[in-house]
Chain length 341, copies 4
């Protein structure tokens, strides 16, 4: 059994790691940390876990964590994960970092978008961006995985095959219109996520200024593609629905477009749909459902993906990465169906 | 036009006062206050009001408010309304206080339940509990109205006719099971009202310890009745559904029970229903829908009410009180139908 | 008092007409019809209206309706409004038809998209498309108004000023990504609108095949613009949020874009926002909130609108049209603020 | 591997059986039936199952089902399960029937509440009521299990220990106030479960007339207790929160009440809570969370339970019963944590 620690266990990502790892046959959770609730039982802060964990939350202490655990999921927040992760890597541990601290390879970009200096530039170069369907081989050899953001996951998976196919007209912008459930905003209460403010509403936010823009652009930089990105706060708990308006070099038919997606036909976690994906159909699972639609003009394709932001967009993808890093069957612990309704 | 001020205008009660008073023909709002957003346009903090108000929020200053306004709605929070309200009354103004500060006539009870000393005992004695259907005459002569709490409003209105009828068996407890939408918890974000914590859930809280228990008990003390009260946080924005299990002295039929409610037949804001009330059917309105059901045993009646906690349970009832205090038609500004769906 | 009838009064549009007209000072509702609930009290089918209407539902009979009413709102469904509307117009009445039967001026297009022959081609030519901000003068002289669809309203209002300005690059498609609350699908229950199927989900539908596409295209045909249109079913009751990705002929700054919208500065029902509109802020009102955002590339603008699909997208716009047809102040009966939260 | 069939696989109970059985190590699903969707892929009617089942739906044919399967879950609806279940039992199969057809041991009661004759009286006597915590031993020997209704499960589990303890005052009625998510009403769309009718509402229904009343009364008949039962339609997908106001023979303290519940301390699927249970904390799981609260008067206790109506209230309990009938570890396939948020 692999001894695993979760740093920052009381947020939604930490909670979801606990839920999924409870079903993982090769893992034992030995340590859970929280800055604000140290000394409290994890199941007190997360009552749904009653009966599944008798661990007590501790303040994060890199030495203590490294002593007990061999693999660490860091669900600490941006700018606060940088140092702890570095400590753990230096102690010879494997780490999946779910913050943004090791995602942007450009220090300049990081410092601009996260308003903080990057203090681990050497380690940054060794971090691997943890999108398994794309970087499987690099992940297998990595010690530090920068787990992708939820929006980038929902956008990049449907984008890659098309960009690789050479069919995308990169002189026009790729438009990404992405709607996210509220758990994506984290567990700390804010004005914007107070129930009556969100419920029965829909609102775009950070139009043109969201931090996931540089992350998406980095990953598609090789294709010299530009994006316009609009995220929305959706009054549901879980799920991101991403609609991509994809400029094409030539007119393409429905069949031609679907053929591009066949590249994914052997990917267990990607389900190719012949109807528009619905976030409700991936809830609680590591699936990314994708469909593509030709338009009457033919020079723009509509590609739509649905993921659960807490699973494929965070904890599930992190476990997928762990499975690869450990040389296990990739799907271990991630094979339960979605929950519907 | 009556010059009106709203103290604490950016919370949900303040917002609802703004919405309803915008439709009131006899009123001009001259001043809105906020401790945290002073200097900001009201419509910036409440974007739905764009086009309806160009007022700028001010810090509460009793002298300034008294200078400009003749009637004040105080939507300040518990313990913080006491002094400002007293100042305004001393300046000769009429005030409807929507906090609990002048509701409990027992200083001892207030200090126990609100953990603060009551510093305006003399004024407390002059305050009138603002339940118009019950205290209409006293309200007409009052300068200070203690506007009832939302749960007490939903419980007392269906209870009164039965208690007055003498049919209630006061040796057994009256059970009040009351489910409230989240706006009842106010606009300040908290862990418990964070969207993903509330959504798709239902949970009782403050079982046996809610502050509205002494308020309800005070109002039915004359009948020597005891209550058990269980409130719930319901994943909707507005509405309180109150189910009362009422012990009866004798077996009563459906007809006999309905007859007791006929007392309300001329009350515009009370609608007697022949089917279970639904909070959705009073949304946005000052109605209290009530129905009663006999049980097969006959010695317990089920009385159910539905109100909008922000209207009949707060701002609407406050305006109703103002109308009575000013000698206007009681319904002025409160005659729009509910909004469905 | 104008004598008004509502044909098809028990659906959501009919219900909303009842709600809004209850606040209209110049109107008396004399007749309400329903095919399935004739003989039943309107307030039985719409309990929120208890106390506001003692009318009994009748089967639609053009002669009877024409006898009692001088102005008719038809909320009958597509293909079923055609004949009744024609009857009423022939009887010399004024009609606002909320179905699609008189919206598409091309008989061919109508018959293709609605799979039914158009049997009133002569009358079709006289119908005026009821978008008041655009066709105010024609509406004033019309007897028959084809009230716009909800999606077209949310799309056309933000589009017009830009198309008129000549800044739109019509060689590229205008992308319209529009999310609608469930009341837009009507009151008849279906698999797709069953609560657990919709709740906690988000799904596009009719991608590239929605009936509102020809309606939007007709209205912008003069500008020779083409659109791509993606609608979504959003798990809320009311509201359409429309995001338009607008191709521009030249790079435009934020200031230049906002200047285009100033055309609307005197329109009461259009509110120009400096932040992204939220459907929650127009709920229950006839407002269309609009904002525009420049993109870093500069050659695409993001224009966003929020409306309440049942008000500005249906009943409110219908009443606005009536006000214009009758020569009344345009805003009569439509001046209540939105309801928040 | 046990060969299992699901009759009525496209409703919510059938869907949930599919979801849970996909994680069960001892079971292979060989046959799924549907009257309305025969010939269609199960994953077409339940897209969340894509990748988990390539079965095609068949019309129910008892002989065919009996040929392929050794264990059958019948999720057919009330009155329609009676004959098929009898056929399968006669063919020597084991059956868990999730309808009400074999729950009421009184033929008279069945025929009154379900308005249909009972045609399998002999088999009815052999059916065992499948509440594992209470009837474990009988279940182990049974061929036919009548799986309990969702409301009875949520009510009986918290009631039993108190009734058995002899502390309940059966001269007064036990009040059961139970709020259910919409999936409890099934997957067929109706007026009452149409999204905009339910959303943002709360309404009691079948006050005093719900079919689960005789089921609960049957199970507590031995204690000669009477109940008052009020169910509500709650605007969430899953979950039943049951609040029981329990009359006591004597004043009992919090400690004394909690002691009664210790009877459950070794039951894996019952979690004793020291705070009010929340339906969100059992979502997707087979847990029944229970808490008890003393009242100030002391002669009434408040007992509260939370279950997922589709799991503990239907499919999960059915699988629990199967595990017992097959002699397997009781928890097999049911050990995943709830899903939060």
């Amino acid at each position: 059994m692999l001894k695993v620690a979760i740093a920052g266990a009381t947020g939604y990502t930490g909670a979801e790691l606990m839920r999924l790892l409870a079903q993982h046959p090769n893992v034992e959770i030995v340590c859970v940390t929280s800055e604000q609730s140290s000394g409290v039982l994890l199941a007190t802060r997360l009552p749904f876990l009653k009966g599944f964990s008798d661990l007590t939350l501790e303040k994060f202490d890199a030495d203590r964590v490294a002593e007990g655990a061999d693999f660490i999921f860091s669900a600490l927040s941006h700018t606060k994960a940088m140092k702890p992760v570095s400590h753990l890597i230096n102690a010879g541990k494997k780490v999946v970092d779910l913050s943004a601290d090791y995602r942007l390879q450009s220090v300049q970009a990081y410092e601009k978008w996260y308003s903080a200096p990057h203090q681990e530039k050497a380690l940054l170069k060794k971090a691997v961006y943890g999108l398994p369907e794309i970087y499987r081989k690099k992940i297998a050899k990595a010690s530090l995985i920068a787990n992708p953001g939820c929006y980038p996951t929902g956008a990049l998976l449907p984008l890659y095959p098309f960009l690789k196919s050479g069919e995308v007209d990169t002189t026009r912008e790729i438009i990404i219109d992405a709607k996210s459930g509220v758990s994506g905003a984290g567990r700390a209460p804010t004005d914007a996520t107070h129930f009556p403010e969100v419920n029965e509403g829909l609102v775009p936010y950070d139009v043109g200024t969201h931090r996931h823009i540089p992350e998406i652009e980095q990953e598609i930089a090789v294709f010299e593609a530009k994006i316009i990105f609009t995220p929305y706060l959706l009054p549901i708990n879980r799920g991101i629905l991403t609609t991509i308006y994809l400029p094409l070099k030539r007119k393409m038919t429905q069949d031609q477009l679907e053929e591009v997606l066949y590249e994914y036909s052997s990917e267990f976690f990607i389900r190719l749909m012949d109807h528009p994906p619905n976030v409700r159909d991936v809830r609680g699972s590591n699936f990314c459902d994708i469909a593509v639609f030709a338009t009457s003009g033919g020079r723009t394709a509509i590609v739509i993906s649905a993921i659960d932001n807490l699973v494929k967009g965070a904890a599930g993808q992190a476990i997928h990465n762990m499975n690869i890093m450990m040389g296990w069957d990739e799907h271990t612990g991630l094979t339960a169906p979605p929950i519907f309704p």
